[in-house]
Symmetry: C2
Subunit: 379 residues, 2 copies
């Protein structure tokens, strides 16, 4: 399968070193890594283990933070289906960053984009997914007075005039080159990139975006004209993709149900999916496994532990060692990840049941301020 990394499609085997070069982003080195991880109570393993691995202008963001100018966070979600672990993990990392730096966070729900993207998508479906997805996001426990979750279709009235300023900066030619639009792309979808860029101008501070690297093209366009409008070039910290259950290629996808653990999956489903579909780096026979050991590089259960579910370095090292030596079996490492995921999902599902999304959307302090704001054109 050909490798493909666009904001809408990730396929094939991904060579992250090549992406660094192609996208022109900077690898995350020390001491910047330490500056982040030293403040984080949770989630720092996602940096240490290089799941978040590249950035743009993160050095400037940290400088602004240290000098008291501050910064803000922005991320988003396209509500085109049920959410899975691949969606949740970057959002959790964002929460850890918010906790670490105590900053404002804007979460854009691109109901418009997801409706526009496919001809046969019904608004009713997008609308339902939107409410559902917002509940799952709000359940992560962001600071309710410093987090604004907004639906594009609902907040448009507050941003539209300034949105036009952004649109004026982007020609079809640019949009075509960056997003692969064609003559058959509809005119709404062509216009959408302006709205995804808009929140980077919500405050006159640097904006830091934690997101998978496939979303980077949006930010390159923003960086071309942000300063001409009197704003900062957006900064970003990029993650790799959470590998799908089925192996290291591509990314977890709602449309390929066997590749994903959904946030609503029950214990039995999780267990069955992992036992049935999780790509194993173990050997074919028990004897062979005891002799040669498992390959952690391609073993999805191990990779998930490393990326997210086992934050304890020693514990992870132990698993790696035992698995590679053949002492830990394929079924056993699957059992470890099944238990981790189930305990995580159980707690999450409880929170979803009782979460109050209104705090984040309308009644929290930041939300209230945002509904009062009207973004006018910058000229």
């Amino acid at each position: 399968m050909e490798t493909k990394v666009t904001p809408w499609d990730v396929e094939g085997s991904i060579d992250y070193s090549k992406l660094i070069e192609e996208f022109g982003v900077s690898p995350l080195f020390s001491p910047m890594k330490e500056k982040l991880t030293s403040r984080m109570k949770e989630g720092s393993h996602m940096i240490k283990r290089e799941f978040f691995f590249t950035h743009r202008d993160l050095d400037l963001v940290l400088k602004d933070y240290e000098s008291g100018k501050g910064f803000f966070l922005y991320t988003g979600r396209g509500p085109s289906g049920n959410m899975h672990l691949g969606h949740l993990i970057p959002l959790l990392f964002t929460k850890y960053l918010q906790d670490a730096f105590d900053v404002n966070l804007y979460i854009q729900i691109t109901d418009d984009e997801k409706y526009l993207y496919k001809k046969d998508r019904k608004w009713k479906d997008i609308d339902e997914f939107t409410i559902d997805n917002i509940k799952h996001i709000a359940a992560l426990g962001f600071n309710p007075d410093k987090t604004f979750i907004f639906r594009n279709s609902e907040y448009i009235g507050n941003v539209y005039p300034m949105l036009n300023t952004i649109s004026k900066k982007i020609t079809f030619s640019t949009a075509k080159a960056v997003f692969g639009f064609t003559n058959e792309t509809n005119i709404g979808f062509i216009g959408f990139p302006a709205y995804q860029i808009m929140p980077t101008f919500f405050e006159k501070k640097r904006c830091l975006i934690p997101a998978a690297i496939d979303q980077d093209p949006y930010w390159r366009i923003q960086r071309d004209f942000a300063e001409s409008l009197g704003y900062f070039k957006v900064a970003a910290i990029h993650s790799k993709f959470l590998p799908p259950l089925t192996g290291m290629d591509g990314k977890m996808s709602s449309s390929k149900s066997a590749t994903a653990i959904f946030l609503t999956d029950d214990e039995k489903t999780v267990k069955n999916k992992i036992n049935k579909y999780a790509f194993s780096g173990g050997q074919v026979t028990l004897e062979e496994h005891r002799e040669k050991g498992g390959n952690t590089e391609v073993d999805v259960p191990y990779q998930w532990l490393k990326i997210f579910f086992e934050s304890d370095d020693e514990e992870l090292m132990k698993i790696k060692r035992e698995y590679e030596r053949g002492n830990l079996l394929s079924g056993e490492i699957k059992k470890v990840i099944i238990d981790k995921i189930n305990s995580f999902l159980k707690a999450h599902q409880e929170k979803v049941k009782t979460v109050d999304i209104n705090k984040y959307m309308y009644t929290g302090q930041l939300a209230k301020e945002m509904w009062k704001k009207k973004y006018l054109p910058k000229d």
Copy 2:
């Protein structure tokens, strides 16, 4: 000069018979003409004298009216400059239609389009022209409880979700073919046609648009997909262009100040402009004029009298006869039009001073209803 008729440019000598063929519109014949004019207390001469000369589905609109289903009117204004007579005349015709049929009217102020259109346009300017233009429009005396004047930048929140349904129906390829977009067109302007189409779906009745024929391309796109959304194909009644002061080619244009009488021009300015710039069909010398007579076909003062300012047929015939016979001199016919325009503008300018635009925008019955409505996608 090459002839060009697009929604943004009208240049050169216009062959209206050719336009009928090119655009695929129907000439306005009897008895449809009589059905309109018999109800109109004012403005019927604009039909009888074929200034409004073609239509789409006007027969169906009249049928719906007669059967009690009703219809509604929609027109608009792009607030990119000061208004002149060329802008006002179709609006007045719209008012006469509203009076004749007692129907709802929606007037779209495309502040977004005008801001998006040109790179160096400042929002501040568009914003000022918008308020100014709305005053001039409101001063025409539309029914305040059946007329909704709305700024696109302000009303977007009420229409955006459904706007996306419209956008999904229009590919870049279609938009390019109809409007001549290029790779250098900005993505906001590319998206705009959806918003201009949106008001044709404000009610589940037939929508009739009185407008100059250059705006027709928008409606052809609407007619391609309206029924697939459960709405009616839009109907239209098209006018020719008010000739610029300087002669019969092109149309009156704010950007060529010598071609236009602005609604704010004072008596002296009107007099000077007409005496100086109005293209005359009179002969070069007095003797020659007395002998050969004037040519009313190209005489701008005569054409303006015919199109709008002299509604009395007998009076117009007399002027034509006397001018063509050489009894009425070029300066004398100019005097006639100067007096007509000045008396018209004087009354208009008085109304502008005291007009309450809030009735039309927010507090009238239709306006209030429209601010409560939210247009969701149609699927």
